[in-house]
């Protein structure tokens, strides 16, 4: 079997776990890297915009790809400004576009997200847009130059799992970009299920941040994601979900 790499915007990664940024602590970042094997870590630019003694940037070791996000942006224009600021701060070319006009559920604004993606992709950013799983919007994002599409599984922080499963499956089937499932994954089993479906990677934060034993939960996610990925590669898609497969072909009687 050839090496199984996650490729985003021409960059290769071995790990398919991405640490989100919502709840943060230095312990969480440590566990994500050491125990979950994360190679990509999301960073809220607004959180990095600090002079505090424990700057989150100081905790990111070399070799880890930073994925600055535009949280706090309420429209495309603000997201673009935050992305440019991230680049100035030395966070690299990756950016996760997230635009929210709702402080209660923090649901992404798909229309503004398409606009911001188009502008930032033209400026040379590797754009990973966070979105509500809608096929038409996902196509627009792909056409706008997105490097990946990041549909939400359920409301952010809810730990409710794959509430949008059917729609994420449609994106996986129809969009020729890595589909990274973001937001709402509460358990390793849910991460595993998304990977079995063909998701390219999982982004999680709260599930780890609110766990009793952080390092142990981080390693549980690592195993679950790897198991789901292997199951997908092994051909789970060919398994029948209804009834059983006959051991002899049902059409074996046909002769000419």
């Amino acid at each position: 079997m050839k090496e199984d790499k996650l490729v985003i915007g021409g960059h290769e990664f071995n790990s398919r776990f991405i640490l989100g940024s919502g709840k943060y602590s230095m312990k969480l970042i440590d566990a994500a890297i050491k125990d979950a094997g994360a190679e990509i870590i999301t960073l809220a630019v607004r959180r990095a915009n600090t002079k505090e003694q424990e700057n989150i940037l100081d905790y990111i070791p070399e070799g880890i790809t930073l994925l600055p996000n535009t949280s706090g942006a309420r429209n495309a224009e603000e997201a673009v400004r935050i992305a440019r600021l991230a680049r100035e701060l030395g966070c690299g070319n990756f950016v996760k576009v997230e635009i929210m006009r709702d402080s209660k559920y923090l649901l992404p604004d798909n229309a503004e997200t398409v606009k911001a993606t188009e502008i930032l992709a033209k400026e040379g950013f590797v754009v990973l847009p966070y979105m509500y799983p809608d096929l038409n919007v996902a196509r627009d994002l792909a056409n706008a130059g997105a490097a990946s599409v990041m549909p939400l599984a359920s409301p952010i922080g809810s730990n409710k799992g794959l509430a949008t499963k059917e729609f994420i499956q449609i994106l996986i089937d129809e969009i020729d970009l890595p589909i990274i499932v973001d937001a709402g994954i509460g358990r390793p089993s849910q991460a595993c299920e998304a990977m079995e479906m063909g998701a390219a990677a999982i982004m999680a934060n709260t599930a780890l941040a609110t766990a009793g034993d952080l390092p142990m939960m981080a390693s549980a996610f690592k195993s679950a994601i790897e198991a789901g990925r292997r199951a997908y590669l092994a051909g789970l898609g060919r398994m029948l979900t209804r009834g059983a497969a006959a051991s002899d072909p049902l059409t074996g009687f046909l002769h000419d």
């Binding site: 402080s103 209660k104 923090l106």
Partner: protein
Amino acid sequence: MIRGDIMDNRFFVDSEFLSEEALLKKHELENDPKSRKNHMEYLPGMEIIESDVCESVIKQMNSYDYNRYTASDVKAALQHDTCTIEDFKALLSPAAEPFLELMAERARLETSKHFGNTVYLFTPLYIANYCENYCVYCGFNCYNHIKRMKLTYEQIEKEMKVIADSGMEEILILTGESRAKSDIEYIGEACKLARKYFRMVGLEIYPVNTDEYRYLHECGADYVTVFQETYDSDKYETLHLLGHKRVWPYRFDAQERALRGGMRGVAFSALLGLSDFRKDALASALHVYYLQRKYPHAEMSLSCPRLRPIINNDKINPLDVHERQLCQVLCAYRIFLPYVGITVSSRESAAFRNGIVKIAATKVSAGVSTGIGDHESKYTGKDADADMGDEQFEIDDGRSLETMYKDIADEGLQPVLNDYLYV
């Protein structure tokens, strides 16, 4: 409302420094309701906005009979995935008091879902304590004999430098409520200075019109705090006897004007202990709830100040709002509005604040002074030669930023100094 079982605060204090004429006027205001202006009537220059939020809040508050709720209502409320207004009313009722530990557990879960283990730190900076109002419980009230002061721009900058050097990144600028002494331009300049030293600038000043909020936003402020004190307008009338603050509905709409003026977020509160705290807590949360539905992008937060002693009146206290009741209110807020910030100020003790950040609070102040121009002496121990103005109220928790940071970290929480960008 008559509450025979509860002592009322004695607010009226006559200073020996007041002229006979001033005393006469003061006593007339205190004793003769007819001598006071109509508190529901706008003064010239006050913008009136069309809004249905106030009506929705007050209707709910007036019909709230908290004695009607039973233990089974409380249990049901705690079992629901989504806390309805009815559930919230049950959680605020006396029937919920025996369930405080269960409420705290649920509140902690909601807090961790929405905020993880983070606790934000900020500090207030009072730049002036002149006030044109007679609010009987407040140390800055115009009849209270205190040392008045307004910092110059140089003094403001010096104070800000001292605070910024301590590591603080979020500041809340406060003034007494005097448009004459602390006008919009003065406050705007203070915001511009603050933007140089801090990442986040909030304001707690007298309520202003939409265009003035817009100007202050352009100067660098992005968060507006206005305390309604009490949502019971009849009670409000008996506590705010003179000045523009007496106009209750203009104050109620302040947050909405601030949001229309482009501010990112707004903060709310009643001053618990002034009136019926259960009704005030209900109204505060519903004020947030209805405005959030109308302005879904806005960030909102609740505070929970209780009455404190002031200079020349050390007997003022929060009456029936003990720590248990305050904790109940905060847990109920968290369960009903899991996404809003909850701020607990230095009015509360270190022990209470250490406990409540683990349950519901997401923001605490540190290195606090409610006086004017005294940060250098308080932060560096230097005996500053500068003038200082008196304090608004006595604080309880005097911990510095450094101590607070360490204490929060020791509780297993993550102190955060900034999570904000001005865009």
